[in-house]
Each structure stands twice: as C-alpha cells, then as structure tokens.
Symmetry: C2
Subunit: 260 residues, 2 copies
C-alpha cells in the first residue's frame, strides 16, 4: 500500500507530456474525483476528439507520416484537432494545406487509471461497462502494476484524400461532420453517465483495507456491494438502453472469490 | 480447478449461435490451440471482416435498423459481409438494394477466452499486446469468471449513404475497398504473429499448479518465465515495429507479485 502511494506521488509529480500540457475539461473532473481516493491514480486521458491526420501507407495502418503542413508530434501529423463540435469550414481549410493522404477520425473518450488492487480495477471496469464503454479492460503489468483502461466501441475513421487529392465532395464532408458531432454528443452522455456512476460506486464501496481478511466482516462487505450494485446500475443508466453482454460482465460482487 | 473444467465442458457443448454457425478459419486454429490447454476456453471470435451495415440514427451510434434489404439478426441489418478480400462490385451490388443509411466497416480480429486463473489471462494479454492487439484487456466477471479479450485499435468506419442516397463516388468506393483490403492483410499478419507467439508462450509457461505455492520452487517458475519472455517477443515480432506503451505493459514476469 505504501508502494502504491509512492508510485502515485511520483506519477502525479511528472510533467504533462501531452500536446495541450493540460487535461481536457471532463477528464480533469474525473481525474480529481479519482485522485482524491488513495486507491486510484489517473495516468492519461482524452475527452474525445475529431481530428484530421495524415496517414495510411501501404500497410493499411495509419502509419502517420509527415507529408503536408500541420502540427507534428514524433512521426504523426495532425492537420486539425478539436474537442468541441467540429465545423465544416475548419475541415475544408485544414485540407487545403495538405499534400498527403488525409484521414478524418472521431476518437472517443479514453482514460487510464492505476489501481491499488485488482478489486479497485474491477469496480471501475464495472462502472465503465455499465456506462457504455464496452471495450474497457484491465491490464496487469510488470511489477504488479494494475491499470484500468476505459475504452469505447464508438469510432469513425474515413479516408478523405489520396496523395493530396480530395476523394469526396463538399456535401459529403458536411454529412461526415454532422455524424461526427452526433458521436461527440453521445460520447459526452457516456462520460456523464460514467462520472455519475463512479461517484455512486465510490460512495457505496466499503474500503476493504478496513476489513479483516477473513470471517464475518468479509461476508458483510460483499453483501454491501451486492445491494448497492443495482442502485448504481439504475442511476447510471436510467434509459436501460445498454444490453448486457456475455463477455463484459460487471463485477462488484466477486471480491471474496477473486482475492485468492 | 474442477469448477473451471465443468464450466469449460458446458461452454464447449453449447450450440454455436453465430450467423455462420461455425468459427472463422484462423480463429478455429487458435481455438484448437487454446482449448487443448485445460486453463483456457474460447467463447467467441471473429477473424476480421468487411461489412456494409444499415445504421446511424440521431444518437450518432450505429443503432442498426431494419430499413432496406439484407440479412437481419435481431435489429441489425447487414447488406454484405466478407472475411476475405473485398471486391468493389460486391459493394456496389449490395448498395443498390438499400434505402437506409449505409456504413462501410472494417472490423479487425476479436477473440474472447475464459481463463482459469488471472495469471493465465496475463499470459494471453502479454502475447496479444506484443502481437499488435493493443486494445486487449482482462475482465473479471460475476462469480470470478476471468475473460481475456483480444482487441485491435485497427478500424475503418465510413458512412456511405443517407436515406438511400449514395454520398460518395464509384472511385471513392474503389479507394475505400483498397484501404480495407490492406487493413485486412495487416490484420492477418497480426493474427499469425499472435498464433506463433501463443505457441511459444504456452510451451514456455510452466503450469503453476504443479508447483508448490511457496518456497524455492516458486522463485524458479518466475525465473523461467522471465528468461523465456525475451525469446517470445523477438520471435513474435521480428520487425520490432511495435513501440512499447506505458499503459499496455507485458506481464509474464509478475506472477509472484500478483498472487496475493
């Protein structure tokens, strides 16, 4: 536990290496909420964005090259990036600058959180999946580092130009911007659902380090989680639009079984 | 352990509910490899595919509707699906049938594997990330069910028509098919890398249930994993094209630390 606290302090003291040198607004709120708990430490995030990137070589992977104008970061060129609703005019202006292969992308919310124990990661994972972030998952790294990644299935990736020649019409770009902005709105709804669900879950969760590892206390803590879970689900997703998936089960109620 | 064997037997006895009623060829080979080990049980998979789907309602989510022709499954309509390289003619023919909003998608390889213990999931996760499947992650579900999901960052999602009207040119569709086929080739390379890496990893891994939980035996098993790991990485990714990522670390060498 002391090791986690040390790692957290070191991590939060590191300079922000992102291009913005700052957290996006919604991610910043979530980071504050999580970092206020000793069991969590956020390490990277993005609220979601629309971007125009120069990419696609023969491999079919966006192997970001440095053709054309735009901001460069390592070997990746972005002609445009916005975390707010996108305007067609901005896309058209950015396209004028470029001589390479341009791809229009919507990238949804992403958040990485270091967790002290596996059960902490499970708590976050459960809330994330219930909020619509179905591609979320846990990574257990070298040295026992446990990271929970919040990821969405939500994407848009559209090749627009080839060797500097625009392959689509103005009208299509307008349509695309409209679709991307709708995805951005849905992305924000999911972040809000996640934030709300997380507040409830963190409030409901009994810190297990205050409980004895064996005996009746342990059973009680599991019971508390079980009872609270339904409430969290209901409040976090009042629309009930998310179908349960076989491979992304929630997990608040397995603490006793997993802690070998 | 007996519980896992029971669950695996039940799972493998279930009817295949997929549209094809069969596994894709590459996924089938992987399933055979994994299911031959008592610690793993594959539950769902797709080799990767190109599809034309009818979707996009006001939410911006592909809320697959049932406008137009095509195969229907629940409330999702596919006008075309292929696991092989795609032909422009097939896309054009499929588009003729449709009166709704059509989206062209490339979906990469996906595999879900039930794992007996957390360390088994970590082994798979490590090989998956090293093979290029960077969005892979572990889920710990209700009742302690541990699932490893192999997922790629590789995507393509392009809206093509709006209310039945095609928004792009023939030439653009030809370009798009070319990009999708390149992605499909890269996807196959990653699956092959994963398969090879997995064979090596499974061969190298010492089944921990044959080892004592404490004492010198345990230290030796960790050492075996550490030594083998470099070999697996080198053989699985000879090109060295994958950069290490802070949030997707490999994890063969942390067994001693994570098994609390």
């Amino acid at each position: 536990m002391a090791a986690f606290a040390r790692r957290k302090a070191q991590r939060l003291a590191r300079p922000d290496l992102s291009r913005k040198r700052a957290l996006d607004a919604r991610a910043a709120e979530l980071a504050r909420l999580l970092n206020a708990h000793e069991r969590f430490c956020t390490t990277s995030s993005c609220d979601g964005r629309v971007l125009l990137a120069v990419g696609y070589r023969d491999t079919g992977i966006p192997a970001w090259d440095t053709d054309g104008g735009g901001i460069q970061k390592k070997n990746c060129t972005w002609l445009l990036v916005t975390h707010d609703p996108c305007a067609k005019g901005d896309v058209m202006t950015a396209l004028e600058k470029c001589t390479g292969d341009v791809v229009f992308k919507f990238e949804p919310f992403v958040l990485h959180v270091l967790c002290r124990e596996l059960q902490d990661a499970q708590l976050l994972h459960s809330v994330a999946v219930d909020s619509g972030f179905r591609n979320s998952g846990i990574t257990v790294g070298r040295g026992g580092k446990i990271t929970m990644a919040v990821r969405s299935t939500h994407c848009l990736e559209v090749p627009l130009s080839r060797k500097g020649r625009l392959m689509v019409s103005d009208e299509y770009i307008e349509f695309l911007v409209h679709v991307a902005n709708q995805k951005m709105e849905e992305n924000i709804r999911r972040i809000e659902r996640f934030h709300k669900g997380l507040e409830l879950a963190l409030e409901a969760a009994v810190p297990t380090d205050t409980l004895a590892p064996e005996g009746p206390e342990k059973s009680r803590s599991v019971y508390v989680h079980r009872r609270k879970r339904q409430t969290i689900r209901e409040q976090a997703d009042p629309s009930g639009e998310l179908e349960p998936q076989d491979d992304t089960e929630s997990s608040l109620d397995l603490f006793a079984e997993i802690m070998i």
